[in-house]
């Protein structure tokens, strides 16, 4: 393996944006407080000074308005990176994303592309309570016409944006606030990641843990703990939530014969329900035990730490369920 360097998830995201701005002058970043404030989570800190007001645009609180404007700018030849400060405000722009960005190409009979990239900070874990702790991956993953990416690793934090900017179709990217300060290793050379396939983050033979986003880490840690008990878990990071890389998880399950899906989002009508349904449909006879899910509790996320923790899957929940699946 080549040389590596230490980098935080935040810094990896910033490098990717900087690179995009440097390499293509049609790229610009727009969003609430991306400039003068330095980004709500300091991801874009310093970029306004490095580039200009034209490339780093602070916008008013008008989610539907500026997401719609980003869509329009993309239709007109630019490459906007639209930051919705947090996924929680995304519902205000949902109509623009679904009815315009995702629909335009098909509705216009293939004439009009919308190559917009929408980034959203998301996830639970900062005690921000019910209105600020949403996991809307399932909503976006439901919509044909969108390419939906969840960044669960440093590699993807650094590499996904470049691929997204090359897509002629709208790409929605989920970034995880709770991971921003996490350090990771990246190779010194340029990273190329694709935004079409899932990725095995850890190989294993006993069970496939299928997951994405901030849960990837929890699953990796759970896998380490399980190893001690002699259980080799494979951890598959879905990465692309739409269109799902079905082949990847079916292949994994066909090797391990057991599948657990782990997701922070509310359990009902989620990405994990879809993955479970597809495994049942296409790999039923490969299964040694029923597919299981460990998901977010179905509750508006409460503020206190102990209740917040209880609202999302924790390492111990994952370990426990895996053990039960393997040694019932």
């Amino acid at each position: 393996m080549s040389q590596t360097r230490k980098i935080t998830y935040r810094e990896a995201l910033k490098e990717a944006i900087r690179e995009a701005l440097t390499e293509n002058d049609k790229v610009f970043l727009m969003g609430e407080d991306v400039g003068r404030y330095g980004g709500a989570f300091a991801v874009s800190k310093g970029l306004l000074e490095e580039f200009s007001e034209e490339r780093i645009m602070d916008v008013p609180l008008s989610e539907s308005g500026f997401v719609g404007a980003g869509i329009g700018a993309a239709m007109a030849g630019l490459k906007p990176i639209v930051e919705v400060m947090t996924v929680n405000f995304g519902l205000l722009a949902m109509d623009q994303v679904v009815n315009n960005a995702a629909t335009m190409l098909h509705m216009s009979g293939g004439q009009i592309n919308v190559p917009v990239v929408i980034r959203m900070s998301c996830g639970i874990g900062k005690q921000l309570a019910a209105q600020h702790s949403h996991s809307w991956e399932p909503y976006y993953a439901h919509v044909p016409g969108l390419r939906v990416i969840s960044i669960g690793t440093h590699e993807d934090a650094r590499g996904v944006l470049q691929a997204a900017l090359q897509s002629p179709d709208p790409v929605v990217i989920f970034e995880y606030t709770s991971m921003l300060n996490m350090e990771g290793e990246l190779p010194e050379e340029t990273i190329k990641v694709d935004i079409e396939s899932a990725k095995i983050r850890r190989e294993g033979t006993d069970i496939s843990i299928i997951t994405y986003g901030a849960a990837v880490n929890k699953c990796m840690e759970a896998a380490e703990e399980l190893k001690v008990e002699g259980i080799e878990a494979e951890v598959l990071d879905l990465r692309v939530l739409r269109p799902l890389d079905e082949a990847a998880f079916l292949a994994s399950v066909s090797r391990t014969h057991r599948a657990l899906i782990v997701e922070d989002a509310w359990r009902s009508v989620s990405v994990s329900s879809e993955v479970s349904a597809r495994i049942t449909e296409k790999a039923f006879y490969e299964l040694d035990v029923p597919v299981k899910r460990v998901c977010g509790a179905e509750v508006p996320i409460p503020y206190p730490l102990h209740l917040e923790d209880a609202s999302v899957p924790q390492k111990k929940d994952i370990v426990e369920v895996v053990k039960k699946m393997i040694r019932p």
Partner: protein, 327 residues
């Protein structure tokens, strides 16, 4: 505005356009009752002077965005009547390959960006297109048509503010036909003088009689000139009226036949025709010839649509994603 005599040809062309919209839509309504056209069909009849007058003030490279009531706008922009009609028939020879239908006419080559059926949703997109033109240093205006009902939506507010704040060249054209489906202006807006919304965004604005083609032309030219010289947006309110139902599913319980009849007296087409005749910019004979040409062109459009073909069902999911994933 008095048309100059050198404008004989121009006057005739405009009369052709405004007539074409009317006859095209009358025919479309007929075809609808024959179930050749389905879904929603929103007629522009009565309001034709607005699209005709505004779009003539634009250049071909200027962008246009409109609502589900956009046959007129597409025609004036120069899209082929046959291709539009084929779209309304759902044929793959249509401008959106039949996938859009009446509410979603698109022609990228003509800078015609639809056809949006979510009321108000195209306003932010228009601002974005204008922003792109500004950033790309193109001399393009983006013109966005919408109804007075749309102006109550939050997106109107956000788009107006963004356009003015960013100083981007958008012509917002509010087609105030006094009704949003069955809801009259007075039940939609606390402030019914819509042009007064302009100043509350520091945006230039004006109101014009949308039943008078020449007045619309003059007001639009002024507005467009202002946008081109300042680079800033403009709100033009055109007071108009739809003579027909909101869509084909509307029993028109909310207004009196008398009110409609009053407005029909202001029909923009005879008004413009008579003005041309009076100014001697056209003869009755020429008018008759134009009527015939329009009729002929509408007939051809229907023929084109009729002979069009349906896309094979195997193509259903085409265009959900681009074929070429990486550009």
């Amino acid at each position: 505005m008095k048309m100059q005599s050198k404008n004989t040809e121009r006057g005739q062309q405009l009369l052709y356009q405004i007539l074409l919209i009317r006859r095209f839509e009358e025919k479309a309504a007929e075809e609808y009752t024959k179930t050749k056209i389905r879904g929603f069909l929103h007629l522009y009849i009565g309001e034709e002077a607005v699209a005709t007058g505004v779009i003539q003030a634009l250049k071909d490279e200027d962008n246009i965005l409109a609502t589900y009531r956009e046959h007129g706008h597409a025609l004036v922009r120069g899209m082929d009547p046959g291709v539009i009609m084929a779209e309304m028939y759902g044929k793959q020879e249509g401008c959106s390959k039949g996938r859009g239908g009446s509410m979603h006419l698109f022609d990228k080559s003509k800078n015609f960006f639809g056809g949006n059926a979510i009321v108000g949703a195209h306003l932010p997109m228009a601002v974005g297109m204008a922003l792109a033109a500004k950033k790309l240093k193109q001399k393009k205006i983006t013109c966005c048509f919408f109804g007075e009902g749309a102006a109550a939506e939050g997106e109107f507010h956000e788009a107006m503010n963004l356009a003015s704040l960013w100083q981007v060249p958008v012509l917002f054209v509010c087609e105030n036909n006094l009704y949003a489906m069955g809801t009259a202006l007075r039940y939609t807006h606390a402030m019914q003088e819509l042009a007064k919304k302009g100043p509350s965004y520091k945006m230039a604005s004006s109101t014009v009689d949308g039943m008078d083609l020449e007045a619309v032309m003059e007001a639009s030219e002024k507005a467009v000139k202002k946008i081109r010289t300042t680079g800033k947006p403009y709100l033009l309110v055109c007071n108009t009226y739809r003579f027909r139902a909101h869509s084909m599913f509307d029993a028109e319980l909310y207004r009196d036949k008398k009110e409609v009849d009053e407005w029909k007296k202001k029909d923009p087409i005879p008004r413009f025709r008579d003005s041309l005749l009076k100014q001697k910019l056209i003869t009755q004979k020429k008018v008759d010839a134009l009527e015939e040409r329009v009729e002929e062109d509408v007939k051809k459009a229907i023929e084109f649509a009729e002979t069009g073909t349906f896309e094979p069902v195997e193509n259903l999911t085409k265009y959900v994603y681009s074929e070429n994933q990486y550009q």
